[in-house]
Every structure is written in structure tokens, then in C-alpha cells.
């Protein structure tokens, strides 16, 4: 079992209450969290996560023209559809043997940078932070709010709020200043995205082989002018988040245990380096390391690998507590990778989705999300990696790798330094994200605004490169190719909330097999065949409860903060299947006061 070490404490006789939240709000998609809470000892003793939607992408992709894959898989997710298109195009480029022009890769990088800034902003400020806003804290921890009123905000000189409570007020939904400002910023950054990729959510200008975006100087001026105008907000967001999170550690000693898991992080890398990347499998280890967000598997604080070939071969899809039939008796699609390494039958290249609808049973099968795991050859363990909601794993892996070295972002081996130029109100700033002590709820949330800064800083670098190409007259953005009769491909990318891979098998110029593995199956998976809980379950299970309300008016804010810290996004988790089932007997379904209903 993975797990968080049990906290030694004097235990009182348990007073256990079943509690469930279904559907979970402020996330994209359908997710239910079912827990058992021991109110005497104020901790969660059991957690199951489940979801309720089947759409069947890996089923209806079969037999289609492989070039359509990016257009279709975009529709897996309504918030990061472009990450899917991008990843699909990476996989297709490998299969077709085509390297897009360098400017095309740079335009994709600019689009993806805008996407990260947009998505993390709207998620953190308009969805996650509602759990930390004044109205919420008042109804769950009034004493903490009282303390926040008396606590000076350390970074007030940057963000302009005097007390921590003032920041919390600014986060009140629809009314707070920051909440409203974040909606505006999320629009401007989406305009930046549209300049590169045409439309948001489902981009219109991305193709396997390159982009259709017209690379004129105006395209980049329009992007640059918007980027410059969101920088003040970005700098303030980092300062504000730090103030609130540091305050929580101080106000509620022990809060570091909330959502804490063993450090088991995966990052598949983002932002291709067009000088190095040729999309060939044979050279993947090399161009993977050249990415501007470094891939890596981090276990207990150590970098286990940063090699995309290792990462690829280690992926295993376990069925465990999900509603599927096994496929291991079928013929494999792919026995060896292009380097001659054997490919496991449980690898996505060989997967066949065989849905088996059945009753929901938390002691048996209870989810349509399968359990992807990463097989660590050294320890022979199937690791339930999580993505830290995306940014935590990205920053952690990049920091440890120490490979990224640009004028704007530098990885040091123990931290990531991010330099943002002067903006309207604030001077030039270098922010430093240092590897934290824990992989927990607060650090997952804290990493997010830092990654917004990271993406903004890298966007300046990509802009310089793009303008360099355009000024040199290198304006080609698309390379032609033939779809081969038979081929395989894989794409590795970071969806906003974490690891994303697409695996593709072509036979007779048609899709024979296609399996996307987005972050949510990794994070939201149920117990696997070895009984190991998925990361949401593992992070919630055993976590202490700090909310002041008792079982009768319990809201579950600490639990919801943990679940939301992973940036749950279920449409991608359940692109497979979801069937029948029923709930455990439920004593109480918590509610949040009607003040903001």
C-alpha cells in the first residue's frame, strides 16, 4: 500500500460517520467522494473516489482516419482540450515521421504557455480559492478568520492588502476584487491563446505536421501586449497565495498533514525545444531532456528517471476496482518499441477497453476510471504516481533535473528561479520556488501561481524566438507527410493538471488502437489490483480534520481542499465508461451555508 505514515496520537474510541459529496462542485466533470470520518479523533479513516460518466473515446476512435485524432481527442476535455490536441499531434508526428518547422513548435509553445496561465488562474482564483475565501472560512473556521483579521499580510507591499482577511475577502465568489479580476485575466490570457491556436477550448489551428496560424509580426505583438498587461496580476497572485498559505500553517499547526502523501510525483515534460526535438522515438530520451519543463519521476524526493523511453515503458494500466474486463489474453498490438525493448501487455499500446457495467460496490468494483501506475524496475513496485495537480510535479521535477537554463527560467537542482520583467506597477522580479518539505494540499496549491509565473516567463522567451524566425523570413509553419500503412506513435505532454500521454497504433492507414492517458486517471483512480488506493483516496484517507463544525453541520472543507488541490477534472478520467451502482448508506450529506447560494 502506498501511503501516508499513520500519525501517532492517543486515540479516543472512534465515532465514525459516513459522509459523501457527489457531485463535487468547482471542478470540471462528475466526481463523487465517499468517506468515513472519525469525529472523535478528527480524522478521515476511509475514502473512495468514484465518477459517473461513460463516453467511450477509445471505442469510437477505432477505424477513423488517424489525422482526425487531434480534433476528436480535444473534445475529451472542456478546459484543456488543446493539451490533448497537442499531445495527439506529437504522437502522430512520431507515427508519420514528420518534424514540423521550428516556428510551428514555438507557436504551439506560446499557445500552451497561454493555456497554463489561463487555466491555472481561473482554477486557483475562481474555483480553489473559494475554499479559502472569507465566506467559507467564516462558516468552517470562524476562529481562523478572526485571527486572519489580526494578521498583517507579509507581502502587502506587493499585492496591496493589509491583512490576510482582506485577501480572503477579495476571494469571495462573484463579489471579491480578486475573483472578478481573475475572470478578466482569464479572458485576456485566452485571447493570447486564441492568437496562437485560433479558439479556446478546442483549438482550430493545430494540425499534425504544424499549425495553420498566420505567423505575422502582428500575431506576436498582439500576444506580447496582452502578456505584459497581466504581469502585475501574476506577481501579486504569487505574493497573495504565499501569504494565505503561510498563514494557514501558522494558524492551524499540523495543517501540513492535510492531503499529505508520500512523494510520488510524475511529470511528462512540456514545451518542446525545436532545436533538438525531431519527434522520433529513437531520439526521444535526448529531446525529452531538452524540454523546457523537464520530465521526471520523483520518488521520496529523488529523481528516479528523466528518460521518456523509461517513462513510456513503465506505464501499466491496472484494472483493480474498475468495471472492465481484462484484455491480456488478446493478441498484443505492439510487442517491441522501435528501440527493440519489450512492451508490456498492460501498456496503453496494447490496451483494449472492454466495459463491464456492474453495481457500485466500495468493497469491490466502484469506478469506471482504471488505475494507471508506473512500474519502477528498481523497486518492482507499481507506483500510484500523482501529478501534484500539475505544477507541483512540474516544478519539482524541473528543479531536481537542473536542466532548464534560459534567460527567464533557471533550474538549480533544488529550486526554480523565475524572472519576470518590469510591469505597469511592479518592478522586475525574480521569484524562487524551492522544493517544499511535503507533498500536501497547501504545496499543491502554492505551486500553481508559481507555475503561472513560470509559463509567463517562458512565454517571453518563446516570443523572442518566434520573432527571430519571422524576422529571418523563416515563416513556414507546416510540413507535409503521408500517413503510413502501419505505424505506432506516442506523445508526452503536460495537461494543465499533470501528465498526459497519447498512444496510437495505425494499421491500414486507420486507427487500430488509441489510448489517451490524462492526469485524472492517475490522480482519481480507485484501488488497483494490488489494493493500492488512488492518489485522491490516499491523500484524503488518514488526513486530520480542522473544521470547527461537528458532524451535524459539517461542511468537509479540509477534505474538499485536498481533492481540489489536485485540480480534479473528470471528463478526461472517464473517457472510458461508467455504469450502474449505488451509494453506501449515508447518514449525512454536508452542506455549505446558503449565504452564497
Amino acid at each position: 500500500m502506498t501511503a501516508t505514515e499513520a500519525r501517532a496520537a492517543e486515540r479516543k474510541p472512534a465515532q465514525i460517520v459516513d459522509m459523501s459529496w457527489d457531485p463535487i462542485t468547482r471542478i470540471v466533470g462528475n466526481l463523487g467522494i465517499y468517506t468515513k470520518i472519525d469525529f472523535a479523533n478528527r480524522e478521515v479513516v476511509e475514502c473512495h473516489s468514484t465518477s459517473s460518466l461513460f463516453r467511450g473515446y477509445s471505442v469510437f476512435m477505432r477505424g477513423k482516419d488517424p489525422r482526425d485524432a487531434g480534433f476528436i481527442t480535444s473534445r475529451i476535455c472542456g478546459i484543456c482540450g488543446d493539451n490533448h490536441t497537442t499531445c495527439s499531434n506529437y504522437a502522430q508526428q512520431m507515427a508519420y515521421g514528420v518534424k514540423p518547422p521550428m516556428l510551428a513548435d514555438t507557436i504551439v509553445n506560446l499557445g500552451e504557455a497561454a493555456e497554463y496561465i489561463f487555466d491555472h488562474t481561473i482554477f486557483q482564483d475562481n474555483l480553489v480559492f473559494v475554499d479559502f475565501c472569507e465566506a467559507m472560512v467564516k462558516s468552517t473556521n470562524p476562529s481562523v478568520l478572526a485571527r486572519a483579521e489580526r494578521t498583517e499580510a507579509r507581502n502587502g507591499n506587493i499585492h496591496g492588502y493589509r491583512t490576510v482577511a482582506d485577501i480572503m475577502r477579495a476571494f469571495n465568489p462573484f463579489e471579491g476584487e480578486v475573483y472578478k479580476e481573475a475572470l478578466k485575466v482569464s479572458r485576456v490570457t485566452r485571447e493570447m491563446f486564441c492568437l496562437m491556436e485560433g479558439r479556446h477550448v478546442h483549438p482550430s489551428t493545430l494540425y499534425p505536421g504544424g499549425v495553420g496560424t498566420m505567423p505575422e509580426p502582428t500575431t506576436f505583438t498582439d500576444y506580447l501586449s496582452r502578456l505584459v498587461h497581466v504581469l502585475d496580476f501574476v506577481k501579486k497572485a504569487v505574493a497573495m497565495n504565499d501569504d494565505v498559505f503561510d498563514f494557514f500553517y501558522e494558524a492551524l499547526p499540523g495543517y501540513e498533514e492535510v492531503g499529505r502523501r508520500r512523494i510520488l510525483l510524475g511529470c511528462w515534460g512540456a514545451f518542446q525545444n525545436p532545436d533538438v526535438c525531431d519527434y522520433r522515438y529513437e531520439t526521444m530520451s535526448e529531446w525529452g531532456r531538452a524540454m523546457y519543463v523537464s520530465p521526471g519521476v520523483v520518488v521520496d524526493g529523488k529523481l528516479v528517471t528523466n528518460d521518456l523511453v523509461d517513462i513510456n515503458l513503465g506505464i501499466r494500466v491496472l484494472l483493480g476496482s474498475s468495471y472492465y474486463d481484462d484484455w491480456t489474453n488478446e493478441e498484443p498490438f505492439v510487442t517491441h518499441d522501435p528501440l527493440g525493448n519489450p512492451v508490456d501487455m498492460r501498456h496503453p499500446w496494447n490496451q483494449t477497453t472492454v466495459p463491464m457495467p456492474q453495481k457500485r460496490d466500495f468493497d469491490g468494483n466502484y469506478s469506471w476510471v482504471m488505475s494507471p501506475r508506473w512500474y519502477d524496475r528498481n523497486s518492482a513496485e507499481h507506483l500510484a504516481l500523482d501529478t501534484g495537480g500539475g505544477p507541483l510535479a512540474r516544478l519539482w521535477s524541473t528543479a531536481l533535473n537542473g536542466l532548464v537554463d534560459t534567460p527567464y527560467v533557471k533550474a538549480t537542482g533544488h529550486s526554480v528561479q523565475i524572472s519576470l520583467p518590469k510591469s505597469e506597477k511592479l518592478p522586475e522580479m525574480t521569484l524562487e520556488w524551492k522544493i517544499p518539505k511535503w507533498s500536501n494540499t497547501i504545496e499543491r496549491d502554492r505551486a500553481r501561481p508559481y507555475f503561472v509565473a513560470y509559463a509567463a516567463a517562458m512565454a517571453f522567451y518563446f516570443l523572442e524566438r518566434a520573432m527571430g524566425f519571422v524576422r529571418a523570413g523563416e515563416t513556414k509553419v507546416f510540413e507535409n507527410y503521408e500517413v503510413p500503412d502501419e505505424a505506432i506513435g506516442c506523445g508526452f505532454h503536460e495537461a494543465v493538471r499533470g501528465v498526459l500521454s497519447h498512444h496510437l497504433v495505425i494499421k491500414d492507414k486507420k486507427i487500430a488502437n488509441y489510448h489517451p492517458y490524462p492526469p485524472t486517471p492517475w490522480n482519481g483512480s480507485p484501488r488497483d489490483s494490488y489494493g493500492t488506493p488512488g492518489p485522491y483516496e490516499d491523500a484524503v484517507q488518514g488526513q486530520p480534520i480542522f473544521e470547527e463544525n461537528g458532524p451535524d453541520d459539517f461542511k468537509g472543507v479540509d477534505i474538499m481542499r485536498t481533492v481540489r488541490s489536485f485540480d480534479p477534472c473528470l471528463p478526461c478520467g472517464v473517457h472510458m465508461y461508467l455504469g450502474k451502482g449505488n451509494t453506501l448508506t449515508k447518514l449525512h450529506s454536508p452542506t455549505y451555508g446558503a449565504a452564497h447560494a
Binding site: 462542485t25 471505442v59 469510437f60 477505432r62 477505424g63 486564441c194 452542506t591
Partner: protein
């Protein structure tokens, strides 16, 4: 003496406000638990014309007070707290409300046994999941208006494509095309994969104005789309259309020319995106280098696949237009060269040759003078 000036608060004015014939307050019950990616909710938050917060905070004049119940934007923690207004509405205890459905509607009838394709909360008595279909069956008949957001909800979309295992369809296929809401409105379809943000907010605002009694119902076409948004084709608003007219076609995606040969379906697709842009006039499809894949259309996606090939029919029409386009392009080229030349009176020699006449009058002395001189 009285002077009518300064500010008078109308609410304090004895005979100021006229009684309104519509609602003062309305709920929006938004269910995205169809087969969907939730992309329409996200897209809606991109609209600034008007923004969702403008509507919720009452900044748009003439609208009723709006209580929005949308899972993504809800301040609620989740579970029963969030479900409360939906449950109340299903019991008939919450009205008036506008029901917004996002996502395709799966066919429950093809499932044997008690399985389900998608659910929204649990049955409080049995603990079993409540299907999307159950909610539609209970809410649609009580709704003052029903709005379908996005191509999945309007016509089935991606999740209803060939080979799908769920038998998915659009809301009108499910409720019947002649469905009428409590407010006597047909389903209001806003297609788009996803919805163009402003198209959706504008339509919703119209429906809300209608609810307030300050506007007629929105005009819809035979596919229940707002006429003013979907009445023209992509091609008719595309800034590459002149290339088409001149039979000047891009051969791959590097070209700023018409993309019909590389997969654009614009000539036959009802959509205003190239004209309106994607948000605040920025972005779009063919105008910025994306082929139109027909994502607003009832035939989407099957009728348009494989997306990157020339549309059937494209060959014929582009052959037809070729001779005309070639001639027109050549003639325009000649004229274009002409209008690219500066008139010859601009020079630095000693004579003024611009035609300047200080006393020009149509019937004045200068004219007579000039005529005499001839």
C-alpha cells in the same frame, strides 16, 4: 420656482416605475452531466459581452435577478448543498427557472438492467445514482425555458458519432422537436463545439430579457438556432472568401489563401465565428488558419470527416469557379497595379500640375474666366 435638475432616484419617485409584465427573479439550473467535456461552461466564462458576472451581479439593465446554479462556478461545497435547488425544482417548489443542458443525451433504453450512462447526484431514498435522463424528465416540463448549450446538447455532437456505444443524441431528439416550455418557448439551441462565448451569453441575455417581459422571444430557425447568429455561412463572413472568389486556393496550411482544398467546410456551414472572432473579436477558424470542421452543424462530426481532406463537392465547385476566378484575378491584378501607382502631378518641378484653383465656384467668376480661356 422649481428647477428639474440633479439626480432623482426613480425608486423614490411616486409614479416612476411602470409595473413590469415579466419576472423579477429567475433561477438558472445548469446541468453539464450530459456526455460533455464541460467546455461550454468554460467557454461561457470567456464571454465579456456580457460577462457572466455582469449578469449575476445585475449590471445588465432590464434583466431579472439571476440565481445561477452551475457546478463549475458554484460557491457550494458540493453534494446536497449544490443539489438543493435542483431537487426543489424537480418537486415543483422552485420557479421560474431556465434549464440549461450541456452535453449529449445518452439513450438509457439500450441498457439492459439498471445501469446508466451518466448520473447527477443520488436518489435520497435508495442511494442509487439519478440519471441525467431522470433529471430532464422531471425538470424540462416545469422549466420556463430550456436552453441547449453546445453541439452535444443541441444535436448530439462528438459523443453521438458513428461507432459510439451510448446511443447519444441531442436534447430536441430526446424531448421532441415540438417541445414547448412553460414559457411557451421551443428549446433554444446554441450550437458550437464549444459554444462561441458571446453567442451563448447574448442568447441567454435575450431569453432573460424575454423573461423580464422586456423583449419578444428570440427568433429561431428550423433547427431552433438564433437566426441572427446562425443565418449566414462561415464563408460569407470569412476574410479568405475573396481568395475563393478568385479561385486562389492554399495547397497546405502554410497559406493565407482559401483553405477549401485542405479541408475547409466554410461554404456550407452556418456559423458566425470568422466574422465575430472567437472572443472579443480575437481568434476564430479559417480567418486565423484553421479549417472549418463544421462544429456547429447537426451533421457534425461524421459528415465532415476526415477533416483534413477536401470536402466532397469542393472539387466540383472549385473547378467551376476556376476560369471565372482566373480572369477576375488577372483583371484585378491590372487594376491593382494601377491603383498602386501615384498620380503623376506629384513632383518637385517648378510647375503646379495638381489642378488647384483658388476661386473655384460651380458658377462663379473663376469658372467663367476658365471657360473664356478655352
Amino acid at each position: 420656482m422649481t428647477v428639474e435638475s440633479g439626480t432623482t432616484e426613480v425608486s423614490q419617485h411616486p409614479d416612476g416605475a411602470e409595473p413590469r409584465r415579466g419576472f423579477d427573479e429567475v433561477h438558472i439550473l445548469w446541468i453539464s452531466e450530459g456526455m460533455s467535456c464541460d467546455g461550454d461552461t468554460i467557454s461561457m466564462t470567456a464571454a465579456g459581452q456580457p460577462g457572466i458576472e455582469d449578469v449575476v451581479l445585475g449590471l445588465v439593465p432590464g434583466l431579472p435577478k439571476v440565481n445561477l446554479h452551475n457546478k463549475v462556478l458554484s460557491p457550494a461545497m458540493g453534494g446536497e448543498d449544490f443539489l438543493a435547488p435542483f431537487r426543489a425544482a424537480a418537486r415543483g417548489e422552485l420557479e421560474p427557472f431556465i434549464l440549461v443542458i450541456e452535453g449529449s443525451i445518452p439513450n438509457q433504453n439500450i441498457i439492459e438492467g439498471d445501469g446508466y450512462w451518466t448520473s447527477f447526484g443520488n436518489d435520497p431514498d435508495t442511494g442509487d445514482p439519478l440519471t441525467l435522463n431522470w433529471w430532464i424528465d422531471h425538470l424540462a416540463p416545469r422549466a420556463w425555458a430550456v436552453v441547449a448549450a453546445g453541439t452535444c446538447a443541441t444535436y448530439g455532437g462528438i459523443h453521438a458519432m458513428a461507432g459510439n456505444p451510448t446511443g447519444s443524441m441531442g436534447l430536441a431528439d430526446y424531448l421532441g422537436w415540438d417541445f414547448r416550455s412553460q414559457g411557451a418557448l421551443p428549446i433554444v439551441n446554441v450550437p458550437g463545439c464549444p459554444i462561441q462565448p458571446e453567442n451563448f451569453m447574448e442568447t441567454l441575455t435575450w431569453v432573460l430579457h424575454h423573461a423580464a417581459g422586456s423583449a419578444p422571444p428570440p427568433p429561431l430557425d428550423h433547427m431552433l438556432r438564433p437566426q441572427w447568429l446562425f443565418g449566414r455561412t462561415v464563408h460569407e463572413g470569412c476574410d479568405r472568401a475573396a481568395y475563393y472568389e478568385q479561385a486562389d486556393f492554399g495547397r497546405d496550411y502554410n497559406s493565407p489563401k482559401c483553405q477549401v482544398k485542405v479541408g475547409c467546410w466554410g461554404p456550407v456551414v452556418n456559423c458566425n465565428v470568422p466574422k465575430r472572432g472567437w472572443m472579443s473579436g480575437v481568434g476564430g477558424c479559417p480567418n486565423v488558419g484553421g479549417i472549418c470542421i463544421g462544429c456547429t452543424m447537426p451533421g457534425f462530426p461524421d459528415a465532415f470527416m476526415p477533416f483534413m481532406d477536401e470536402p466532397a463537392g469542393g472539387t466540383f465547385s472549385t473547378v467551376l469557379i476556376r476560369p471565372y476566378g482566373a480572369v477576375i484575378r488577372r483583371l484585378r491584378g491590372i487594376t491593382n497595379m494601377a491603383v498602386n501607382r501615384e498620380p503623376k502631378w506629384r513632383h518637385d518641378k517648378a510647375a503646379l500640375t495638381s489642378g488647384y484653383d483658388p476661386y473655384w465656384r460651380p458658377t462663379g467668376a473663376a469658372k467663367r474666366e476658365r471657360e473664356r480661356a478655352r
